[in-house]
Symmetry: C3
Subunit: 438 residues, 3 copies
């Protein structure tokens, strides 16, 4: 696989900025669950990582669902009697009820009101609304705009098409030393909304880029899909392949300033659940862990009882818990390169645990081995470091009976996985430990 050449290397410090720039580029595009907005988005992602773009025709049966007609929009407005555009799609694509049917007409305020959505409690924000499966048209506007509407005749236009086409998604597979897979999934169906969902797209893209540059134990599969119908479609097309998925994460809402939040997989105590909780616990920052509920993002589909995949979701503030959620206030100011970079770092730490989590067997299981004669004991680093290092060595030796994984050991020892992993490496090098197969 040849990655596109990028002249300047992205430094760890610069990666948050790069993620933010990707978000800024994608922000103006009007995305939906189908249509050209998704295609444009995936093409821009290809500048970061070489994802493949797939098209699934409208009408394709996917489990209990069907790929819908493709929606594309060029313009939309409400003009007052004086011909002035009071509401204009080109100012914000949130103004149009997403998936509105094409419409042109003239009507009074009374009739028009039936098609208007506002947020009275946030009078300066435009709400984001969709109507994918009920055929209707509508506009979203600030409540302040709405209150100014007078009783006159309005000209309404939604210059859109809703016609057979296809559902578009992106996929990238980074092969590893094994065919066991880690799935990273994000949704690409929201229009001008930054935290939900552009932050997830940016994190997934740059996480893929990072992983593409290093050796991999696991095969990594990244999917950039429209929410719900997209994951259902992808699962329907890959039904037999999903058995390879050993761990996974749904990425979303990773750019805001809130604390990291992990929603467990349906299994609840899968390795991914334990890995994320370990990393969060040792992150030094506040975090929250939520039990699985069959509501939220595409973990709903991955965690349906027929699949029951070990896929959780690592976010910052979860969907619906911040007032800006699904409004025009989820904009470029709501996300920051710093928050994005920290989120990416946390994902990398989680994958680092998965990549390095193995079981070992202590080859000297009767009493402790004499660490001193192997140079593993004593004057290396400061006093505190030395004690930490010794404890990590003793824990790995004590619990490496072929049953406990390094993550089990790290959790029981209450030590950071990176120290336990290093201890295992040191012990393996001097022949005191061997990796368990299988």
């Amino acid at each position: 696989m040849n990655l596109p050449q990028i002249s300047e290397a992205i430094s760890p410090a610069g990666i948050g900025q790069a993620m933010f720039e990707l978000i800024a580029d994608l922000y103006p595009i009007c995305r939906s669950i189908t249509g050209n907005g998704v295609r444009q988005t995936l093409k821009r992602i290809q500048q970061v990582v070489p994802i493949e773009i797939h098209e699934v025709p409208s009408g394709t049966k996917v489990f209990d669902w069907e790929v819908p007609d493709e929606w594309n929009i060029r313009d939309a407005y409400i003009k007052n009697a004086g011909g002035e555009r009071l509401v204009d799609f080109h100012h914000s694509n949130l103004h149009v009820l997403n998936y509105s049917i094409p419409f042109r007409g003239r009507m009074g305020l009374h009739e028009l009101k039936e098609h208007i959505f506002t947020l009275p409690e946030h009078p300066d924000w435009i709400p984001y609304r969709t109507s994918y499966y009920k055929r209707q048209w509508g506009f979203c506007m600030t409540h302040r705009q709405f209150m100014k509407l007078r009783d006159e005749e309005y000209e309404v236009c939604i210059d859109a098409t809703l016609a057979p086409g296809s559902l578009t998604y992106g996929e990238l597979c980074l092969p590893g030393r094994t065919t066991d897979e880690v799935l990273v999934s994000c949704h690409v169906c929201h229009p001008s909304l930054c935290n939900d969902n552009l932050s997830g797209i940016a994190l997934a893209a740059y996480l893929a880029r990072r992983l593409s540059e290093q050796g991999r134990r696991y095969t990594y599969r990244f999917v950039f899909i429209p929410g719900t119908i997209g994951s259902i479609t992808w699962l329907a097309l890959n039904r037999t392949n999903v058995a390879r998925i050993k761990h996974g994460l749904v990425v979303a809402c990773v750019g805001d300033s809130g604390r990291l939040t992990y929603k467990k997989s349906r299994q609840g105590n899968a390795e991914i659940d334990r890995a994320v909780q370990h990393v969060l616990k040792h992150s030094g920052s506040e975090y929250e862990v939520l039990d699985f509920v069959p509501y939220g993002y595409d973990e709903r589909q991955y965690g349906s009882p027929g699949f029951n995949l070990p896929i959780g979701s690592l976010t910052r503030t979860p969907h619906g818990r911040y007032p800006e959620y699904h409004t025009s206030a989820d904009n470029l100011e709501f996300v920051s390169s710093e928050a994005l970079a920290v989120s990416l770092d946390m994902y990398q730490r989680v994958l680092d645990v998965l990549e390095n989590n193995r079981r070992y067997r202590n080859l000297n299981p009767y009493c402790e081995p004499q660490l001193g004669k192997r140079g593993l004991y004593g004057p290396v680093g400061g006093q505190a470091d030395r004690h930490l290092r010794e404890m990590a060595l003793l824990w790995v030796l004590n619990l490496s009976d072929g049953e406990n994984s390094l993550l089990d050991i790290a959790d029981r020892a209450n030590l950071n996985f990176v120290h336990i992993r290093q201890a295992a490496k040191d012990l393996e090098e001097c022949g005191l430990l061997e990796e368990c197969q299988g």
Copy 2:
């Protein structure tokens, strides 16, 4: 089975009153573990539900015990030297040590005192005392009465008989669609004491009446038995039948104003234990849950290791925890129709869980089904109701993998069983769910 005709229907509002009236009718009767008081009591219960009355002869071996001689009493008094009845059985049947042997005699205060029981800490209350297996006679009186006794000669009379006869109990079986049984047991051996045990009798009788008027999945067996020797006798006579008992409750102390208290079955995590705790948790009222201890009411016998039946006990303030317990202060003022009605309602909710707790299989287990096209999604009821309804649907779909019962799902979702049950019904009706057999 033909229920006796009752002209006026008992309305939900009136049922507490009906229970209270039953208690008031039974209050004056002098009951014990055998004798005519129990027979009279059971006859009055037959005016509510058609229980069968059983007689077990004295001397019958029942496990390690033997049915004792039958005790009946007509009169009892202590007269002073002036012939005045200072203590009179006809004022309160608590005045006589329950199961006193017949006695007539004259004696001084010193000798009489050996046979008198009082409660110095509650000088106006008469204690309730028994001596079923040690042959003795005695009187109970208020401490205030006792302090007034002068050193004179007293005439003492206990006009009772203790002779071969039988132990009497009542039983009602309401057949259901299955032969699996739910046992509801209450004791009928206490004389003029309202909360312990008349409230339990009243609840059991009216619960049976309610159940007799509806369709039943389970067969319900109600037993009205003297405590300890009664349950031991019943278990001895029904030893092979008890395997049919899948759930059960011992009813007692359900008329006072205290909070509801559940004492778990010996098994501790039986379906009845989980059902009661679910109902109490969602009742909106304070409640308490206690672990099983081999002390208390007849759950001691049902929970002996040879039987180990899943039978708990749902009460209000447990026995021994209120000062009025086993005294004349456990009278008609100590119980209320309101408390009785609420207790009955709680029992009904528990049985409703048992009746409707099943396991289902999601017939569309791969990804969520499209609820919208089946009219299960969207504008039904208010916004909050709608969200609750959707969550219930999603939880039932997600966890109906043949393993989880509806109660499991309700507990994991932290939703009221009635919502989960309704969701299952709706999903079954549109073919998305099928009940698991066996």
Copy 3:
């Protein structure tokens, strides 16, 4: 086995004093992991119990280790230019770095300082330091002494030998009715330090003496060994015998005034872990329970994955948690006969649980037996005692289904093991209970 005759019986009140006197006798001896100090120590212990003394030659391979050369010391000092002994081994054997190589020489302060250890934060205490496996010499002194050293020439002498010899340890086996063993292990390698380790030696010696005077279900094995290399040596020599060890405790730090602290075995929920926690819970005193960590005393070796023996450690303040630890302040004033006696009593209670913990089968499992006709119910002792006794009887009957041990029952009933044990004895005597075999 003939115990040495001791003219005066050691009364329970006097046993703390006897333990303290043993500590006082052993205090001046300079012990290390090998050498005559250990031999002298074991000889003094033989005045309490007839332990056997074993010698293991230097160079013997013991798992990953080798028995080191034997160290003996006669004298050591630092003289100033005036010939005055500033530091003198005969004042405190802590002054010498334990296992120092022999050395004689003259040097200035600058060079001397490289070989001196002090505790600046406790300027009047001498630290205890060792260098078993790195060949070096050194002195420990108070920081106040150290600060007074002037820049002059010093004469340094360590009159020691480090040469092939042997490692010495003591062992006592008290045979029981079964060959299943309880191991009690303490280390004997510390010089003039009272809590760590003389208190452990004293407790083990007097516990052995007590056990030798009573009937025993278990065989008890006491080992008095140098830390780490001693337990490794003992395990290497007894590799096949350790399968007999069913329970064990490592004794140390039992003479200070701190609360009792139990460090669980590696297994974490072994019978010894539950027995100690039961006794501590019912002791009426504050205590602490710690999870196993592969650091500490010889439980590290017993709990290595190849052995994984159910051996915990019951101490007062754990090693390293009191500032006097491994300093000259861990002296005779730091331990007390009262603390020692209470610690011994706690060990005895634990062993009493192990000795009497059995499973029984209720021979009358259907309903409760009639306790009254067997004299087990009613007027014995006061009201509170009577209730406790009845509850113990009912719990033992209820849970003796062949699955639960008396300790299981005591824990579930939240009653002291001694009451549960008595109830089982009473029930067994009247034929209601029989012991389960195997």
